[in-house]
Amino acid sequence: MANKTVLYKIKRQANPTSEPFWEEFEIPYRPGLNVISLFMEVALKPVTRDGKATTPVNYDSNCLEEVCGSCAMLINGRARMACSALVDNLEQPITIEPFSKFPVVRDLQVDRSVLFENLKAVKAWVPIDGTYALGDGPRQLPQVQEQAYQLSQCMSCCCCMESCPQFNEGTGFVGAATIAQARLFNMHPTGKVLKEERLAALMGDGGIQECGYAQNCVEACPKEIPLTKSISDVGGDVMKKAVLDFFRL
């Protein structure tokens, strides 16, 4: 095959209220290309495959090392990070779309602030007394640290939420990421002082009960965070609390 190329289609949208449309691009193949570098090619030469002048593609990105959580999008239909999506491993034409369950800002940029609001609702922090000197932190066995570290790698990319059939306007489901963070802080020797409040926030409509155990979240997670395990653990705690609350009334 002479002159190998890369063919890709990008779903674009000028602003939150305008109609989306597709544009096709084709560039010469080079080894080592990832989806981010496909966007960089468009910025250098903003022309579509059929020779029409266009504009650089707008997308969120930052670290390009799959650790900041910015560049999540749908690539060949799958929720994943654009930086770690290597062209060599993708079927062509590569289709690139914004997440479908978050409001589009422009092109591939979406508004994912709902996750940060959810993290506030479950008080995803350790409530320290202050930053003044209070000596060492609590001792922890390495096994406990390893479990916490797994959960603490969540980069708020929202791939788990995009992939979840229950995450939609109908249910108002908080999604797996928030539940895993609630578990992380409930595990912490000091963080667990807020455990009851976190569980309360996950009760009722939109809470943990909305999970339908489709298990898409754990498959989508780029960091392989044990999301379904987290949901079942926290689910158990919520259930226990519900029963106790009932008898307390």
Binding site: L64, E65, Q140, Q153
Partner: protein, 594 residues
């Protein structure tokens, strides 16, 4: 009752968040501006760990020894009192992070584990797997979210800092910023402003830095009169993974955990790394630096790799690459201590570093220079502070690995309280703040209009590519005055061509190419500060290496380079300031003795 001080913080990485926490805790009101949701800031990229002399390994480590290693590692260019203060605060900062829930790796007894990093003989680096920066950032992000939910911090995410608002006496009274979605320009009054805007990697095209690390904010402030210190001091990290879109870092912790750097003894050896037997491998760092071995400071390792590749022609497969080998270490240990970074290598390169040696090469990594600050982190502009990588203060001519996270948090912890103190003593009466705000907004709106209506045929991304190529080629590892003078001329040419930038996208809604083009102007100005500073420093010190001037020259150059913008010539003007060496007497910096 005294008024509540309002402090504006620009940047939401470790330095900005640290400052925010201190201000909020002291009762101040914080307005926090960031280009990205703060949890996505560049601090997440720091991998290996954070230094502090907790001395939990019975080695007799102490803050003084940490201080000495840092000053010596920086080739004596840093003012010593600030460095000493940072090293003394180190153990307390680690304890605080631990209390905040950072999942630091533990020993079997449950205390913090520490590993070795470059430029020291002590196990002084606390770490959380190989994503320590991410874990630290998250801990601070969580504390700030808590303050946010209490109404003490207001976040402005997806906002670009455009400039400081200065009154008639050049006192900082607030900032001018742009909403990246609506593209609306607004001014914000504040009692003090703390900058925490990171490094300038994008000036070198591809680097290990994140996309937002353009240096535009620092460039803008330099144009407004802020002094820029030691701009020529740029760290090139010895071990990066070259990529199409960026250079990905391979942490120094890989060597801290026993990783060995080598090349085949036979140049151009066609066998794979794994096939080459032990006795046919040249462990050049271990041979040349027997005491520190693979853990010599970054500038030393980088130059050694360049030498082996370019002077001796011994790069792997004849390419600019050397091996970084972890395959002799057992899988479980690697996963526990380095999991995150090995995943990155496997994901982006496709080879499994548990099994085969990694192919790496040096890449631009860290900005030692930055906005000039005093011991309280205040710039030469009253009311304007700078913290973290965007300030010049701690690392001198070369930063030691795992000192950056500490220096960011330290600087935030110093600047926050001092900004509050400053605002309590400052008096805006008599200063026409409203007029200053309005004038700055008008100036910035005019810049926007000019850029959008510009006619010409230049593409800002093309200019950027040329900028990066010339800077990376001529102003990084090995520096020659003639080539850097050509670079400076090229920068002037790029500035001329910049006037003809024509944006293909002129819309005023979330227009990223508009933003980037706007940043380019400041980047080009700062690139000249870096280049001219390097031309003028005729010596070799730390990361700054000139073959024509191979020795350190304390008599002439044990001085801080201070660049000021000279509007008459549209170029930097330089002054040199004595370095405070009151605590440790400079001595020759050598890592090759036994």
């Amino acid at each position: 009752m005294a008024k509540t001080p309002k402090i504006i913080i620009v940047g939401g990485g470790l330095a900005g968040l640290s400052a925010a926490i201190k201000v909020a805790e002291a009762g101040g009101k914080v307005e926090l501006f960031s280009l990205v949701p703060v949890k996505r800031s560049h601090s997440v990229c720091a991998q290996g760990g954070i230094n502090s002399a907790k001395n939990l390994k019975g080695e007799g480590d102490s803050p003084w020894l940490h201080f000495d290693d840092t000053v010596y590692g920086g080739d004596f260019l840093a003012n010593q009192p600030a460095v000493k203060q940072m090293c003394e605060m180190g153990p307390g900062i680690i304890d605080l992070l631990d209390r905040m829930g950072v999942p630091f790796n533990r020993t079997p007894e449950g205390v913090l584990d520490f590993r070795r990093f470059g430029g020291t003989l002590f196990n002084r680096t606390a770490f959380a797997g190989a994503t320590t920066g991410q874990q630290l950032l998250y801990a601070l992000d969580e504390q700030v979210r808590r303050y946010e939910s209490e109404g003490k911090v207001k976040k402005y995410e997806y906002w670009e800092f455009l400039s400081a608002v200065l009154d008639g006496k050049s006192v900082c009274r607030g900032i001018c910023a742009m909403d990246l979605r609506s593209m609306e320009v607004q001014t914000f009054a504040g009692d003090a402003v703390i900058m925490a805007t990171g490094g300038i990697g994008a000036i070198f095209g591809k680097s290990t830095n994140s996309v937002v690390c353009t240096g535009s904010a620092q460039g803008s402030l330099y144009l407004q009169g802020a002094a820029y210190g030691n701009g020529e001091m740029i760290q090139v990290h010895p071990t990066c993974i070259p990529g199409e879109d960026k250079l990905r870092l391979m942490s120094e912790s890989a060597r801290g955990e026993g990783g060995r750097v080598w090349v085949p003894k036979t140049p151009g050896d066609k066998r794979t790394g794994k096939q080459i037997p032990e006795n046919e491998r040249y462990y050049f760092l271990e041979e040349r630096y027997p005491k520190y071995g693979n853990l010599v400071p970054r500038d030393i390792a980088t130059r050694a790799i360049h030498k082996i590749v370019y002077d001796q022609g011994m790069g792997v497969e004849g390419q600019p690459m050397v091996y970084l080998d972890l395959s002799h270490i057992d899988r479980a240990t690697l996963d526990r201590k380095l999991g995150g970074i090995l995943d990155i290598y496997e994901k982006f390169v496709g080879d499994d570093p548990h099994e085969v040696p990694m192919k790496i090469f040096p890449g631009m990594h860290y900005t030692m220079g930055g906005l000039w600050v005093d011991i309280n982190q205040q710039t030469n502009i009253p009311g304007l502070y700078a913290t973290g990588e965007c300030d010049y203060s701690i690392h001198g001519a070369n930063r030691l690995g795992a000192n950056s996270l500490l220096s960011c948090i330290y600087a935030g912890f110093i600047a926050g309280p001092h900004a509050i103190k400053y605002s309590e003593g400052s008096d805006a009466a008599g200063a026409d703040v409203e007029a200053a705000l309005a004038a700055e907004k008008k100036r910035q709106l005019a810049k926007n209009d000019a850029l959008v209506n510009n006619q010409g045929d230049e593409n800002p991304f093309q200019l950027w590519r040329e900028l990066g190529d010339t800077m990376s080629k001529n102003v990084t590892v090995t520096r020659y005055n003639d080539r850097m003078k050509e670079t400076d001329a090229k920068l002037v040419e790029l500035q001329e061509r910049y006037k003809k930038v024509n944006l293909s996208d002129k819309s005023m809604w979330s227009n990223q190419s508009f933003l980037f083009a706007r940043q380019m102007e400041n980047m080009l100005q700062l690139a000249r500060v870096v280049t001219q500073g390097a031309i003028l420093r005729d010596e070799s010190r730390g990361s700054h290496y000139k073959p024509d001037f191979p020795e350190r020259d304390d008599e002439r150059f044990l001085k801080t380079t201070k660049a000021f913008y000279d509007p008459a010539n549209n170029a930097p003007r330089f002054e040199w300031e004595e370095v405070d060496i009151s605590l440790i007497k400079p001595r020759p910096r050598r890592y090759d003795s036994k």
